[in-house]
């Protein structure tokens, strides 16, 4: 299904915390393969984060963090998590790239608590980097041993380390050309929201299988250092400065979507980004709405997680917000048609149906015989093959397929949104795009009574 998404999705995100239990790191390791294989997605690069945007409560409900670790609420309940627990999971999951454990605080945390979280997260980052370099040293030792003609002989701890970083051999061979290219794309700061999936710059192609194994071994995951600071610009600056010169692949702008006022985002983001090197990617976590994601792009973020499409799905909505400015040179039918139809739909539906031009509420009874696709002009699998009436029926009968079809559509829509933003940057029109987008969304909200 994921392969049908257009623009092409380029990777998936998982939350490391969910793999503390069921399956645990130990259980995953026993399978002998990385999480990619465990979930049947061997060719998708994986980003592991410290938060799940669809599950994260405001703040840190439950017990407080301490110097030893933080409290995470996962599917099996709540538990304390140490940096060591977290790295056990990372070693078992084997993501290409990850965010280390961070001391997240709610959006109304005190300055004192925020200062503590900046310092604590730094300590945990250093512990994580130390563990990774320990692993790297052992791997390098083993590689030399292996290449000196040990012919598959394995022994002791080094071999165990090697096992942890190996993925299935067959797929390692297939991916050997992809990995350097992926890393190159990451290092050039492409966003994670989609793209044309082109091969990127040529990476080193390694010929023999022994070489492939060596390459797989030498690739522990890339680190995105957490930048904390909550709603205090000075703390954001301090945190960013502290990690700016660390030996990491990029940075994770944490602590957003924690109940803070979204109006603070521009200042908080620009304060942090100003201290970070321009040639390394920035992951922005916790943006809750399209406008917030757009603001993130404006401020220089490259990779995003976002629970917005999934929240829309869970509530029976199909996203329909216009993505493309009605520019004079807009050749593409999809954005313009969708914009026109969505506007029409909003006018026709009115407030009673729970509609606005950003999303369609498929629970609404007005769709019970509507043979139109979820959003007119949309080319996703759900819109090409099914009707509003059918999805409406599936929701009302509490059938799983409702979520399947809505998630396909909403993911497609979200990927298209990011494609639109990329195009605006390339065309040097991001400012106009942002102004148009925000104005349109603001106008749509004014259709409804303020809460």
């Amino acid at each position: 299904m994921m392969e049908k998404l257009r623009p092409q999705a380029q990777g998936i995100q998982i939350n490391a915390m969910q793999f503390l239990k069921q399956p645990s790191a130990a259980q995953l390791t026993k399978t002998g393969v990385s999480l990619h294989h465990f979930i049947g997605a061997p060719r998708w690069p994986m980003l592991a984060t410290n938060r799940d945007p669809t599950l994260q409560e405001y703040g840190t409900a439950g017990k407080s963090a301490n110097n030893n670790g933080c409290y995470a609420i996962i599917h099996s309940g709540g538990q304390m998590v140490t940096p060591s627990d977290y790295m056990d999971v990372i070693e078992a999951v084997q993501p290409e790239i990850f965010v280390p454990i961070a001391d997240e605080v709610p959006g109304d945390a005190s300055r004192k608590r925020t200062v503590q979280s900046v310092d604590r997260t730094l300590q945990w980052l250093d512990a994580c980097l130390a563990r990774l370099s320990g692993v790297r040293r052992e791997q390098q030792h083993h590689v030399r041993h292996h290449q000196e003609g040990a012919d598959g002989q394995q022994g002791g701890d080094a071999a165990e380390q090697q096992q942890r970083w190996r993925r299935g051999d067959a797929d390692a061979a297939a991916e050997q050309d992809e990995q350097p290219a992926k890393r190159q794309r990451l290092e050039q700061g492409t966003d994670g929201g989609g793209g044309d999936g082109s091969g990127g710059g040529g990476g080193g192609s390694v010929g023999d299988k022994g070489g492939v194994a060596a390459q797989a071994m030498l690739e522990p995951p890339l680190v995105l250092a957490p930048v904390m600071g909550s709603r205090f610009p000075e703390e954001r600056v301090r945190s960013a400065k502290a990690v700016a010169s660390k030996p990491v692949a990029g940075f994770a702008l944490c602590g957003f979507g924690m109940g803070e006022d979204a109006a603070l985002h521009p200042q908080l983001l620009s304060a942090a980004v100003a201290e970070l090197p321009a040639d390394k990617p920035r992951l922005l976590l916790g943006m809750a709405t399209p406008e917030e994601a757009l603001e993130g792009v404006v401020q220089g973020a490259d990779l995003f997680d976002c629970g917005y499409p999934t929240h829309a799905t869970l509530n029976g909505y199909a996203l329909s917000f216009p993505q493309r400015m009605p520019a004079s040179n807009d050749e593409s039918g999809e954005g313009a048609a969708a914009a026109a139809a969505a506007a029409e739909g909003a006018a026709a539906a009115g407030a009673q149906a729970g509609a606005d031009d950003s999303k369609v509420n498929l629970w609404s009874l007005e769709y019970s015989t509507d043979k139109a696709p979820l959003v007119e002009g949309c080319t996703c699998f759900a819109c090409r093959n099914h009707t509003r009436a059918y999805v409406h029926h599936l929701l009302h009968t509490h059938e799983m397929l409702a979520s399947v079809l809505l998630e396909i559509h909403n993911t497609h829509w979200w990927l298209g949104f990011f494609e639109s933003m990329r195009e605006a940057v390339v065309a040097g029109q991001l400012g106009e795009y942002a102004a148009w987008f925000k104005e349109r969304r603001r106008a749509a909200r004014e259709l409804q009574d303020p809460l």
């Binding site: 043979k371 699998f381 009707t387 059918y390 599936l394 059938e399 397929l401 399947v404």
Partner: protein
């Protein structure tokens, strides 16, 4: 062996051609308005117009030939008139291949506390508002005609297999025939949809025989074997299936209803049965 010496039949909306036999078992091609189905065939249950969690494209990728829709549930929600206006169940869910609907009777009896069977039909309390409702053979046909499946089932008088009253089985045997006649009369699309009778009679050899004779006399496009998979013992089960298939015309499809455990499927194949349903969600198997 030339296929024209193997059993076959031609009905207004169904063609059946056996292509190979081994003992009583056979494999055949069943031509329906929407698809040519290879039998023996397992039919996934798409109760409320969806096979749980799967897209119709995935079902085609799995080479599924025919699925079931549930008349009781779809009759409640969204209703057969709406489905009809959306192009029948095929159009509504975008499934291009074969479709079968049952009569709604089984759910009445198995799901509803206050279901009462009388000569008119199955009287029950509406799950929506508690009012008294009646599902008659005529109403079952109206709903199934609206849903538009390739194969539709008669409303039969189903007695739970665990019932111990022989008179009840006797009554149900004859009533099923009477209801079949009412269904045939009410069926408004015989050139597009094939109506299958359902052989009853419990585990009584004599009653099964009577049911077989009477139903076969009506010369329908295919036949179902009902009243099984309700908790009876396996010995009883296979003897009833064997007797039933022996009494059915070889050139027509046979549908054993409601079985699902792998062993049962193999036994039915040996006995020469054609289609079967699997109620995964109910048995949990």
């Amino acid at each position: 062996m030339a296929t024209n010496s193997l059993p076959s039949s031609v009905s207004p909306a169904l063609k059946f051609q056996v292509v190979a036999q081994q003992g009583r078992a056979r494999t055949a091609l069943m031509t329906l308005p929407h698809y040519v189905v290879e039998t023996p065939v397992f039919m996934p249950v798409g109760t409320k117009g969806t096979v749980k969690g799967l897209t119709t494209e995935q079902l085609q990728d799995l080479d599924c030939h025919i699925i079931l829709g549930n008349t009781y549930h779809l009759g409640n929600q969204p209703g057969h008139e709406l489905v009809n206006s959306m192009g029948g169940l095929h159009g509504f869910i975008n499934w291009p291949r074969g479709m079968l609907t049952d009569s709604g009777g089984f759910q009445m009896v198995s799901l509803l506390h206050l279901a009462d069977i009388t000569e008119s039909g199955v009287e029950f309390q509406s799950p929506v508002d508690g009012s008294r409702m009646l599902l008659t053979p005529e109403e079952s046909m109206a709903i199934q005609n609206g849903l538009g499946a390739d194969i539709i089932m008669q409303l039969d008088d189903v007695v739970p297999a665990t019932n111990v009253d022989p008179q009840r089985f006797e009554e149900a045997t004859y009533r099923t025939t009477r209801w079949l006649d009412r269904c045939i009369k009410a069926h408004s699309r015989p050139n597009e949809q094939s109506l299958f009778p359902i052989v009853q009679g419990g585990f009584d050899v004599r009653l099964r025989d009577i049911s077989l004779q009477q139903l076969v006399e009506r010369d329908c496009p295919g036949y179902a074997i009902g009243g099984l998979a309700g908790g009876e013992g396996k010995d009883v089960f296979w003897r009833v299936v064997a007797q039933s298939t022996a009494g059915l015309p070889p050139g027509k499809p046979r549908y054993v209803m409601g079985i699902g455990y792998p062993l049962d499927i193999v036994i039915c194949r040996w006995a020469g049965a054609r289609n079967r349903t699997v109620r995964r969600t109910q048995t949990g198997a």
